[in-house]
C-alpha cells in the first residue's frame, strides 16, 4: 500500500512541479489537479494503468488512491497552518470586547476538530481554499487598516452599525475567525456548496454549529455562517459577514506573485471592479466593494 502511495505521490509531484502551479496555495493546487484528472481521465488511463504505476488495477481504484494521496499531500501542508492559526496566531480577545465570556482552550480544540472534519469533505476542502489564502496573504489586515484610517463606509458599518467597539486588530482577528467558519456551511448543505443561503437556513446551520463548537460565541459563528447569505436578501447582514464573503471569494482563485502586465490594472483593483459589476449576482455589498476598490487603486494592490 505504501509503495502504491509512493507511486501516486511521484506522479502527482510531477504534475505539481508544472510552472502553471506556481503561486497557487495547496488547496488551490489540489483543486487544479482534481479538475485535471476529471477532464483528462481517459488520456491518463493508459499511463496510470501501465505496470510502471498501477498495472491490473481498475480505474476506480486508481482514481481512489490518487485522490487519497493528493489529500494526504495537501493535508500535510495545510493542517499545521490551520492548527497554528487556531491555536497560536488568532487572538480571541475580541470576544471580551463583545461582552461575552472568554473562550476556553477546549474551544480551540473543538474548532480544530470541526475543521479537520471539513477536510474529509471534498466540497468543504474547496470552500476552505479562499479563506485560507486570505489568511495566508494578509489581505484582510491591510484592508482593515486602511478602512480604519479612512473612517468611511466600511469603518462606519463595523463600528456604528455592527457596533464593534474594538480596535482594528480585534476586528481583524474576528474576520479571520469568521473566514475559517464560512466553509463549515458545506458540512450542513447538500450539493457542491458555494450557493447562497436563506437567512432562516443560515440560522439553523449556526445553531447546529454552536453545538459542535460550544465554546465559540453565537455572534461569531453567525458572522461566519451569515457570510453565505446574499446582502440583497438581508440588508441587515453583519459587516464582518459581508467582508468575510468578499475576502473569501477574492482569494479563492487568487494566484500569489502574479505578474501584472504593463497597461493592466492591479490584481485586487481588477477583482473588486469586476465584483462591483457582479455584486447582485454574488450578493455583495456594492458600497463596501467600492471602498475596497478605492483602497486597492490608491495603493496599487
Amino acid at each position: 500500500m505504501e509503495n502504491d502511495k509512493a507511486k501516486a505521490q511521484q506522479f502527482l509531484s510531477r504534475l505539481m512541479q508544472n510552472p502553471t502551479m506556481k503561486g497557487f496555495s495547496a488547496l488551490q493546487r489540489e483543486d487544479q489537479l482534481l479538475q485535471f484528472f476529471s477532464i483528462n481521465g481517459e488520456k491518463l488511463k493508459p499511463t496510470l494503468s501501465s505496470p510502471a504505476f498501477f498495472g491490473g488495477w481498475s480505474w476506480q481504484d486508481i482514481n481512489k488512491i490518487m485522490i487519497e494521496t493528493l489529500y494526504d499531500m495537501t493535508n500535510k501542508e495545510i493542517l499545521p497552518q490551520i492548527q497554528s492559526e487556531i491555536f497560536d496566531k488568532t487572538s480571541y480577545s475580541y470576544i471580551s470586547f463583545m461582552k461575552l465570556p472568554a473562550p476556553s482552550e477546549s474551544m480551540k480544540r473543538q474548532f480544530m476538530a470541526v475543521l479537520t472534519k471539513l477536510l474529509t469533505h471534498p466540497v468543504g476542502r474547496k470552500q476552505l481554499a479562499g479563506p485560507l489564502m486570505a489568511i495566508q496573504t494578509g489581505i484582510i489586515k491591510k484592508y482593515i487598516m486602511h478602512s480604519f484610517q479612512r473612517q468611511k463606509y466600511v469603518h462606519f458599518e463595523l463600528a456604528k452599525v455592527q457596533r464593534l467597539r474594538m480596535s482594528q486588530e480585534e476586528v481583524y482577528h474576528l474576520i479571520k475567525t469568521s473566514l475559517m467558519l464560512t466553509p463549515l456551511t458545506s458540512l450542513f448543505m447538500p450539493g457542491d456548496g458555494g450557493q447562497t443561503l436563506t437567512p432562516a437556513y443560515a440560522e439553523k446551520i449556526s445553531q447546529q454549529l454552536s453545538k459542535l463548537i460550544p465554546g465559540l460565541p453565537d455572534p461569531v459563528i453567525r458572522s461566519g455562517i451569515n457570510s453565505s447569505i446574499s446582502f440583497q436578501d438581508d440588508k441587515k447582514l453583519e459587516a464582518t459577514a459581508r467582508l468575510t464573503t468578499v475576502f473569501a471569494h477574492r482569494c479563492a482563485d487568487m494566484k500569489q506573485g502574479m505578474k501584472i502586465d504593463r497597461g493592466a490594472a492591479s490584481s485586487d483593483q481588477s477583482w473588486f471592479n469586476i465584483a462591483r459589476r457582479n455584486y447582485k449576482y454574488y450578493g455583495y455589498d456594492f458600497d463596501m466593494l467600492t471602498e475596497l476598490y478605492n483602497i486597492s487603486a490608491e495603493n496599487g494592490w
Binding site: R14, L33, G263, A265
Partner: protein, 372 residues
C-alpha cells in the same frame, strides 16, 4: 545545425553593419579633422570592402530568394530594396571610383574642367549618404519589441521616414550637383584660374622670381606651382605631401607651361560636415522614434491588446485594461472598456457556475510523463 549556422551568419552581418556605421562616421571625421592620408586611405579601402561585402550579401539573398521563387517578396516585402540601394550603388558610385582614383594616383586630374571634376567628386561623396540606409538593416534584424504587430509598425515608420529622407537628400543633391554649381565652388576654382593668369603675366615680365613667392604664399590653398623649368613654389616638402595629401585632394589648373596644384580639402570639409549632420540627424530621429514613439505605441496599442488576448485565452487571467482618461475615445480603449465592463464580469460569473473549469494545467505539458 543549419539554423545555428544561419544565426551565426546573421549575427556576423549585424556586427558588420555596426562596423560600417562607425566607418562611415570616421570617414567624415577624418576629413573634418584633417587626418593623415594614410588613415584616410585605409578608411577608403575599408569602405570599399564593406560595400563589396554588402553587394555580395544582397546578391546572395536575392538569388537564393529567386531560387525559392520569392524574389519579389524579398525585394518588396522583406525590404530587400534597402539591401540593394545600400550596397551596389555605393560600390559603383562611391567607394569603387574612390579606390580606382587611389590606385591610379590621378583619377580626377585631366578631366575636362575643374568644375566638372568637382561635380564627379561631389557625386561620389553624395552617394555615401545612402550608406546611412544600413541603419535600417539593423532594424530589420533586431527584434526590439515583443509584439510582431508593434515590430512591423515601428519598422515601417522608421523605414519610411529614414529612407524618404536619405533618398530625397541623395536625389536632390545629385540634381543640384549636375545642374548647378555652388557659387563657393565656382569662386574657388576661378580664384585659382585668375591666380595662374597673374603668375603667367609675372613670368612673361620676368618678375615671377621676385613676386611669385609672396603671391602664392598669400593664398592658403596654393600648394605647388610648376613651370617648364621645374617647381617654382611649394608650400610644403614632399614628405608632407605624401603624408597628408591623396590624389583627389589636389585641384589642378594649367596655363601655358605653368601648372598650379591647389588644396581641395576645404571643399570636402563642407561636404563631410553636411554628411555628418545628416548622419547624426538620422541617428537622433531613430533614437526619438525608439525612445518616445515605441513605448507610446506599446502603451496605446499593443499592451491593451495583449491584456485582452490573455483574458480571452487564459481562464484564470482577470486583469482589467487600464484606460487613460485622455485616450478613452480611442477605438482600442473603447474595445477595452467593453472587455472590462462586459466580458470580464461575464467570465467571472461563468467561472463560478456549475461545471465551470478554471484549469491552468495542460495535458500537452506532460507528454514525457505520459509517454514514459
Amino acid at each position: 545545425m543549419k539554423e545555428k549556422t544561419k544565426d551565426l551568419i546573421e549575427n556576423f552581418i549585424l556586427f558588420v553593419i555596426l562596423l560600417v556605421l562607425i566607418q562611415t562616421f570616421l570617414e567624415d571625421m577624418a576629413v573634418i579633422l584633417s587626418w593623415s592620408w594614410g588613415i584616410r586611405k585605409i578608411l577608403v579601402f575599408t569602405g570599399f570592402g564593406f560595400d563589396l561585402f554588402f553587394t555580395v550579401e544582397f546578391l546572395t539573398r536575392y538569388f537564393s530568394a529567386i531560387k525559392r521563387g520569392e524574389g519579389i517578396k524579398y525585394v518588396l516585402k522583406e525590404r530587400g530594396w534597402i539591401d540593394l540601394i545600400a550596397s551596389m550603388p555605393l560600390l559603383l558610385l562611391s567607394s569603387g571610383p574612390a579606390v580606382v582614383s587611389i590606385l591610379e594616383g590621378s583619377a580626377f586630374i585631366g578631366a575636362a574642367g575643374m568644375l566638372n571634376i568637382l561635380k564627379v567628386v561631389k557625386t561620389v561623396r553624395i552617394a555615401r549618404i545612402l550608406r546611412l540606409l544600413r541603419l535600417l538593416k539593423i532594424f530589420k534584424k533586431i527584434k526590439f519589441v515583443h509584439s510582431a504587430m508593434a515590430q512591423r509598425h515601428l519598422t515601417r515608420i522608421i523605414t519610411t521616414v529614414i529612407s524618404s529622407l536619405v533618398l530625397s537628400l541623395t536625389v536632390v543633391s545629385f540634381l543640384l550637383t549636375l545642374f548647378h554649381s555652388s557659387d563657393a565652388d565656382l569662386d574657388f576654382v576661378k580664384k585659382h584660374e585668375s591666380l595662374i593668369s597673374t603668375a603667367v603675366d609675372l613670368q612673361d615680365k620676368d618678375l615671377l622670381t621676385f613676386y611669385g613667392d609672396s603671391l602664392f604664399e598669400s593664398q592658403d590653398s596654393v600648394l605647388i606651382v610648376r613651370t617648364g623649368e621645374g617647381t617654382v613654389y611649394s608650400r610644403y616638402n614632399n614628405r608632407h605631401y605624401s603624408q597628408w595629401y591623396g590624389p583627389s585632394d589636389y585641384g589642378y589648373v594649367r596655363q601655358g607651361n605653368m601648372e598650379l596644384f591647389y588644396n581641395l580639402k576645404p571643399i570636402y570639409v563642407g561636404e563631410a560636415i553636411h554628411n555628418l549632420l545628416i548622419f547624426l540627424s538620422i541617428l537622433l530621429m531613430l533614437g526619438v522614434l525608439m525612445l518616445f514613439y515605441s513605448p507610446h505605441f506599446a502603451m496605446t496599442v499593443t499592451d491593451p491588446v495583449n491584456i485582452m488576448i490573455k483574458g480571452f485565452s487564459d481562464s484564470s487571467y482577470n486583469l482589467e485594461v487600464l484606460i487613460p482618461k485622455d485616450l478613452s475615445e480611442d477605438d482600442i480603449f473603447q474595445l477595452a472598456r467593453l472587455y472590462n465592463e462586459e466580458y470580464l464580469p461575464l467570465k467571472a460569473r461563468n467561472s463560478t457556475s456549475e461545471n465551470a473549469s478554471n484549469l491552468s494545467l495542460k495535458l500537452e505539458d506532460f507528454d514525457d510523463l505520459l509517454k514514459g
